[in-house]
């Protein structure tokens, strides 16, 4: 059974319109106008147990709206949705009991209480059996290195510490499905790696299904095999990161550092993209010339100090897909 099934989900909001100027404000006193916004415009996808899916897209694309519908907090305008075999907004309590949600920017722990007391309270809220709770809690404490933090009031924790505690808190009731909304936002490098490592282990070793929403592409590249790209309320891409890249371009880049800091670099099957001091960036198509062949030619003809090959940044890829989609979309939508 799929953990999540989404079919043609639509969600429209009505936003009050503010009018400009003093006269407009006075008219607004008497008469309020509303504008229809389609936050979700017929999205469909399915997520199987044990997947680790990245859910990405620009701000306002509909990511939070999707998560809220999947969690049962928000009722969609139309469409079908099933989470763990239930319609989330119709069976809120039953659904919510089996999922865990972490919001990166907000903590679910009680501000003035020591961390461990928040955990105990969550045990009572989720009705976790005593022995099972002890076991799960000890495992999470060990995995996330929380022992020194247990007696500290949440308000005194640093951002990285708080995020680790929030992750544990979301998992105390052993949910089968977890939504992580920007879990690494604002974290330092060490904490980010720790969180990433934890998510990977959670998914690989315990088979927890994870939906990860983030703007950090490093997170996506490190963790997610499958990526859902949403833009303007529509799913623009559903596949691997390579699929995503291939949609826009098969191009790759070769960056060389010239030995003497000067001179031209050229090749019949590559195009120079930029030049900065001694660093030249070349664009090439792997179907025309392999990276190895290009490197051989370039190093043979020029004095090179250093070089590396890279894919176009994912952000660029996404931006280009998004722009294309916008160009094709019918105007006058809102």
């Amino acid at each position: 059974m799929s953990h999540i099934i989404v079919e043609n989900l639509v969600k429209t909001f009505f936003v009050a319109e503010r009018r400009a100027g003093t006269w407009g404000a006075l008219r607004g006193l008497v008469q309020r106008r509303h504008r229809e916004v389609r936050a979700l415009d017929g999205i469909s996808f399915a997520i199987e147990p044990g997947e680790l899916v990245g859910y990405i897209g620009p701000n306002g694309a509909g990511k939070s709206t999707t998560i809220k519908v999947l969690a049962g907090i928000l009722v969609p305008t139309s469409g079908r949705c099933e989470v763990l075999g239930r319609v989330p907004w119709r069976a809120r309590i039953a659904t919510v009991r089996q999922i865990g949600v972490v919001f990166g920017q907000r903590t679910q722990l009680w501000w003035d209480l020591p961390v461990v007391e928040s955990f105990d309270l969550l045990r009572d809220i989720y009705r976790v059996a005593g022995l099972e709770y002890q076991r799960t809690r000890e495992e999470l404490i060990a995995l996330l290195d929380l022992s020194p933090l247990l007696d500290v009031p949440v308000r005194q924790l640093s951002l990285g510490q708080r995020m680790r505690c929030d992750l544990a808190a979301a998992l105390l009731h052993s949910p089968a499905l977890v939504y992580l909304d920007e879990p690494t936002i604002g974290l330092d490098a060490v904490s980010k790696l720790a969180v990433r490592d934890f998510i990977r282990r959670l998914n690989r070793d315990r088979g927890v299904t994870v939906i990860l929403t983030t703007h950090d592409m490093d997170d996506i590249e490190a963790l997610c095999e499958r990526v859902l790209l949403i833009g303007d309320g529509k799913i623009l891409s559903d596949g691997t990161l390579d699929d995503l890249r291939a949609r826009v371009t098969t191009e790759r880049r070769l960056i060389v550092d010239l030995a003497d800091g000067e001179g031209e670099v050229s090749d019949p099957q590559a195009v120079v993209v930029s030049r900065e001091g001694g660093r030249v960036t070349l664009r090439f198509d792997p179907s025309e010339v392999t990276a190895a062949e290009l490197i051989r030619r370039v190093t043979a003809n020029h004095a090179i100090r250093d070089l590396f090959v890279e894919n176009p940044p994912i952000e660029e890829v996404i931006a280009r897909i998004y722009r294309e989609e916008r160009a094709w979309a019918p105007t006058g939508q809102s």
């Binding site: 003093t22 404000a25 006075l26 607004g28 006193l29």
Partner: protein, 264 residues
């Protein structure tokens, strides 16, 4: 003139957006006023004893109080300042080239005047037309009332300044400090018109500054205190303003000195 007009109209538009809040506030005040008018009407109907004020005077007093409730000094007057003090960023205020006390004072005065106009004018109109708020007893009374209201605003700001500055030492909303706003309300006439207090209490209340906020202006308005007697009372009010402003300035210098010593 251009930039000032832009600010005024922006403020005006902002206030219009909070139409719900203003409307809600006015309805609430009118409701409260009605309750109190009914209570007093019932009391007056229950006795033939002579009272310090007539019923129409009491009703006028009540409606004036409801309309001008915004004049009372609360801690919430300058939440930005309170927040600044709590977070310590008040140290930045010391970098301003202007005199800090008067800078804050102007802020408080401006906010108070704005709020008053927004809420008081509609209530005045409604209460005057339908609910028994009488016109001033005479032009001389109206003039005396107007002067007294100006002083009341200054007095309220001076009191608010003292309480805000004292948050440099104490946290405002805590424990016994909550008592202060209520005592101010009691002594200004917002709970019961002051003439109804026992005579011995009135002698104390006459000396305190708080009656200058409501009781004095209202009784001048009604002619309960004749304009001729206004001068010495207004004079006392002025003395209190001077005293409170001086105290506030002294407190502020002590407080900021303390801040600088502690390094903000």
């Amino acid at each position: 003139m251009g930039p000032y007009w832009a600010i005024v109209s922006a403020r005006f538009r902002m206030n219009l957006q909070y139409r719900g809040a203003a409307f809600g506030g006015i309805v609430t005040q009118l409701f409260w006023g009605l309750i109190r008018v009914m209570i007093f009407t019932a009391f007056y109907a229950s006795t033939t004893r002579p009272q310090p004020m007539t019923l129409p005077e009491v009703i006028t007093y009540i409606w004036l109080g409801q309309a001008l409730l915004g004049i009372l000094p609360w801690f919430s007057d300058s939440p930005e300042v309170a927040a600044m003090i709590r977070s310590g960023t008040v140290a930045y205020e010391l970098l301003r080239p202007a005199d800090l006390y008067w800078f804050w004072f102007a802020r408080v005065a401006g906010a108070r005047a704005g709020r008053l106009i927004m809420r008081a004018v509609p209530q005045f109109v409604l209460a005057g037309l339908f609910l028994g708020l009488q016109a001033p007893h005479s032009p001389a009374c109206a003039a005396a009332w107007f002067i007294a209201m100006m002083l009341a605003i200054l007095l309220a700001c001076a009191i608010a300044m003292v309480s805000t500055i004292s948050t440099l030492w104490y946290i405002a909303g805590d424990g016994v400090w909550q008592l202060l706003p209520v005592l101010v309300m009691l002594c200004s006439g917002a709970v019961i018109p002051l003439p109804f207090f026992p005579d011995w209490a009135q002698r104390i209340l006459d000396v305190l500054p708080f009656r200058g906020l409501m009781d004095l202006p209202f009784r001048l308005y009604m002619g309960h205190i004749p304009p001729a007697q206004a001068l010495p009372q207004l004079g006392l009010g002025c003395l209190w303003i001077v005293a409170l402003v001086s105290f506030g300035r002294w407190l502020l210098s002590r407080g900021t000195g303390r801040l600088v010593v502690q390094g903000g």
